[in-house]
Subunit: 246 residues, 2 copies
């Protein structure tokens, strides 16, 4: 059974080595975190190497939620942080691990669900993954030598989560009778726009289409959208299509 | 060549696995630290497994200072921190990694030399090692699951060192024309007292002698002694002996 303590989920995106998944579980549990999600692990799931490495934290692996892709992993989350070694030229707030876990603690205290994305060992998260995050966590490593591995990145983030406990006041926002949109609502909005705009020939030329789509998704996820906002934005697009079809 | 940047030395005490020494070097260099000391490594020195693991941080191993024991490793240091998983019932300040590295930064900015002790993988530092430290660093891990390994402990401490940079004002103490004692001076004072007290039959009964000696060393290292203090304390003991011999 996971602990009752409200906490962020740590989402390992396309992890490669089972050992690293196990080490990440240990790193999390060292600081009392036990909600892991695993997106498309390279070597399948369950993974005996992960189990062997996790030892005392094996429960986290048993309870880990296996997901086919990043959107599926994030469906019910409200606020998403992405860890990267490099800034990516995406217009998104970049915060320290300390600040990130303060924000996470505030949002969780306010009733939101928070997820943190960790990329695969070699390449890290892709821009497509990062485009789904509200903010980027950047660990201030030595620019001459940035070699944090997956479990170390998880460890530092979990450590900052632990540090952020006990000094938290819930983030206060007057929500005027609506809630923050969940990630699946943002995703559906994004897909809605992408589909209609695709049909409309917006993503042109072809060579630039993928980059344009990422920029678009990036914009949606960067915005603090309420459910009411999302409905309105859907309405905008539907209206445009209706107008065209008229 | 080590970097010119003033920084604490990280002292690995009786490390066992070469891989862990290499991983500790990487963890240090991720946060710009490159002064390593190694006390009595189990498998000798140099260690090919350490070199293989260190990869881009191999320079730290080439430049590491090999020491026969903890007192030798600490000779010219003024302020010593010891990392432990458990409090040990030694009367010594226990600080978080964050506070420890703030203290280190203040002392270094004030011209002192600071060392941080890390224990062997299995058992951690012994009380005899810890007795030589001015303060204890305790990482606030999950009490149900404290499984930080050597390199992870080094990583968190190095990370906090990095975080403590840029917001430091030197510790200000009016030194009244004297300096803080170096560790070798404290050690000599401790030995002086221990020898004389031993001759005096102080460490009795035999079964308790070692514990009494540790408590004594612990007291000296806990005190912020100046060179002038040390000279005076030597004088006190010499005087007692002189008095006895008179």
């Amino acid at each position: 059974m996971p602990t009752d303590r409200p906490q962020p989920a740590f989402v390992l995106v396309r992890p490669q080595m089972g050992e690293n998944i196990g080490a990440a579980a240990r790193a999390m549990w060292n600081f009392g975190l036990d909600r892991m999600r695993i997106v498309a692990p390279r070597d399948g799931w369950p993974n005996p190497n992960a189990v062997a490495m996790a030892s005392g934290a094996g429960r986290l692996l048993d309870e880990a939620v296996l997901c086919a892709d990043v959107p599926a992993a994030l469906e019910e989350y409200h606020y998403v942080l992405a860890t990267t070694a490099r800034a990516r030229g995406l217009t998104k707030p970049i915060v320290s691990p300390e600040r990130a876990m303060q924000i996470a603690a505030e949002k969780i205290a306010g009733g939101e669900k928070v997820a943190v994305l960790f990329g695969p060992e070699r390449a890290g998260l892709e821009n497509d993954d990062i485009s789904r995050a509200n903010a980027i966590i950047n660990v201030p490593v030595n620019p001459e030598f940035a070699s944090l591995n997956l479990a170390q990145c998880v460890l530092l983030t979990a450590y900052e989560w632990q540090r952020a406990q006990g000094e938290v006041t819930p983030e206060r926002v007057d929500m005027a009778k609506t809630d923050w949109a969940e990630q699946i609502e943002i995703e559906k909005l994004s897909v809605h726009y992408e589909d209609r705009l695709g049909e409309a020939g917006f993503f042109f030329p072809e060579a630039k289409a993928e980059g344009m789509k990422i920029n678009l998704r990036n914009m949606w996820s960067r915005m603090p959208l309420t459910r009411a906002d999302v409905q309105m934005l859907h309405g905008v697009m539907r209206q445009m299509v209706r107008w065209k079809n008229r």
